[in-house]
């Protein structure tokens, strides 16, 4: 049983870990001000989304990270349940090898619980722990990932032996009447004095699988978007707030960013800096060539939404100030503190023809919560890199 749950966990954890690292790299942590963790040693960026991919690429990987992560909760809890007798095994440690293995198991269980708990709290905008989410979750993944690989390697022979001796699927096919406990002494987890079984292995797996599927059903709609959003009754962002052009989800409000009408009124200008510099009013921006693009905005919290954005192409603004083609674009917000106050975009991100300084959405003015007077929108970036309430666009030499 434990073997089978372990075998299911390997691909699940692998996909969750890969999509997690892809999200970390999608922030372009190598650019100024983008790193979500304190500067210091980090593994190199191994993958970034090509601009030739559709704008929902990040939405897909991050939706997978969150949805599959939640679906794996029943699997992890069942796995821990299946090995609990080992916690009470006596004597606990016979030699140094046993002691090291115990210590690694403590790290394994601790880090899996920390990863899931911090992740779940983050997607629900709940922060009671008083710790910064990014380093705890990111480096926690290092701890969990490495101990998980070690554990899988150490237990591989155990799994192989269990399958050779008892068959890979045979014990899982038996109904309750045919269900036999593992013979005593056949493995570390075999019960010494088993009670009559009250559920078959097949029944237990069905319950765990049923739980995973239920979680998918009540959660995934917020990542798929469109009409499916309403079909996600438990998803944190499984709602529409109306049918108006601005009634789609936001990741943080103008009020929480302390943006006031005075800051975004007639005196608002966006300063664009390249070889030359120019301050543009909203009127002047609207007088420039307008482009409309259908782009997905996707939050690291796993929800996403696709809308029609209208505004000035970032490449046109770059041309206006004579920015060099390889420059990095630093977008600065009126918002002064926190991760949303600025973001750096790589040259390939802002030179994408679809990348806009958006002024309107779905044919209407941007609402204050969606970044009025102007916001950046680029395909395939984490949502918060689409800086809202922009006050400065600075093309800087790489």
């Amino acid at each position: 049983m434990t073997s089978f749950l372990g075998v299911l966990l390997v691909p699940a954890i692998t996909v969750i870990a890969l999509t997690g690292f892809i999200s970390h790299w999608a922030y372009h942590p190598e650019l100024a001000g983008n790193a979500t963790i304190a500067p210091g040693f980090d593994i190199p960026v191994l993958f970034q989304f090509p601009q030739s991919w559709p704008s929902w690429d990040y939405a897909a990987t991050q939706g997978t990270h969150i949805t599959l992560g939640l679906m794996t909760v029943p699997l992890v809890l069942a796995k821990l349940w299946s090995v609990i007798p080992k916690l009470f095994k006596w004597p606990t440690v016979r030699n140094l090898a046993g002691m090291l293995e115990r210590l690694s198991l403590l790290l394994l269980v601790g880090s899996v619980l920390v990863e899931f708990l911090t992740g779940i709290f983050a997607i629900e905008d709940y922060s009671p722990l008083g710790v910064n989410f990014y380093p705890v979750h990111y480096y926690g993944a290092w701890v969990f990932g490495t101990v998980f690989v070690l554990h899988a390697c150490l237990k591989f022979p155990v799994v192989r032996r269990a399958y050779r001796e008892r068959g890979a699927l045979k014990p899982l096919r038996a109904g309750l009447r045919e269900t036999q406990p593992e013979p005593p002494g056949s493995s570390e987890l075999a019960p010494v004095n088993p009670a009559d079984p009250t559920i078959s292995r097949r029944g237990l797996l069905a319950m765990v699988g049923g739980a995973s599927l239920t979680i998918f059903a009540v959660q995934a709609g917020q990542s798929i978007g469109g009409p499916f959003r309403r079909l996600a009754p438990m998803a944190p962002r499984g709602r529409e707030f109306g049918t108006g052009p601005n009634d789609f989800q936001v990741n943080h409000t103008a009020a929480s960013a302390q943006i006031t009408p005075a800051m975004t009124g007639a005196r608002w200008r966006v300063t664009v800096v390249g070889a030359t510099s120019v301050a543009l009013s909203r009127q002047r921006l609207l007088a420039m060539a307008q482009a409309t693009e259908t782009l997905t905005i996707s939050c690291t919290e796993g929800w996403s939404t696709t809308q029609r954005w209208t505004g000035v192409r970032l490449v046109d603004l770059a041309r206006l100030v004579g920015a060099s083609p390889g420059a990095i674009l630093r977008a600065v917000s009126l918002e002064t503190v926190g991760v949303n106050s600025q973001a750096s975009l790589a040259a390939e991100q802002w030179s994408d023809q679809r990348a806009l300084l958006a002024l309107r959405v779905n044919g209407a003015e941007l609402s204050p919560d969606h970044g009025y007077p102007a916001r950046v929108i680029v395909p395939g970036a984490p949502g918060l890199h689409n800086t809202k309430w922009v006050r400065e666009l600075r093309f800087e030499a790489a």
Partner: protein, 163 residues
Amino acid sequence: MRRAWGLGRFRRRYGASPLHLAGHLVVFAIAAFAIDRIASGAGLAKLIVLYAGLVIAHDLIFLPAYSGLDRAARAALARLPAPQSARVPVINHVRAPALISGLLLIIYAPLISGKADAGYLQASGHHLEGYLRNWLMISVVLFLGSGLIYAVRVRRAVVNARV
């Protein structure tokens, strides 16, 4: 020959192969670095409380609690008069919906309880609404569905017994 003897002695002293030791040392080195990186922001004490606290909360509180609940449910069901349907065990038709409903409660607790309301309002511009109602409705559907499957199984058992 000499090598094999050395290996044998290592195994007896250490308890496993040298590869086992090497693997653990590499993993502990990476884990120590990662924990140091987290601790530089969050503080080591808080980190230890978080990791150890969660292990203790799961292994010594949560798991014994749901095992105890399961035992209590089985005892309560055993006291019920055994009907014709005794050959279809009822316990798993209680376990399955209880497990799924319980898991949803754990995963979405900050939304269901309203604890996340302040953060949610800042992020989305709206108060938490309807999560408790949705969870209760899903739970009712799960228990009713499970009961319905139970009824079908009992009916089938009765019909088969007559044949």
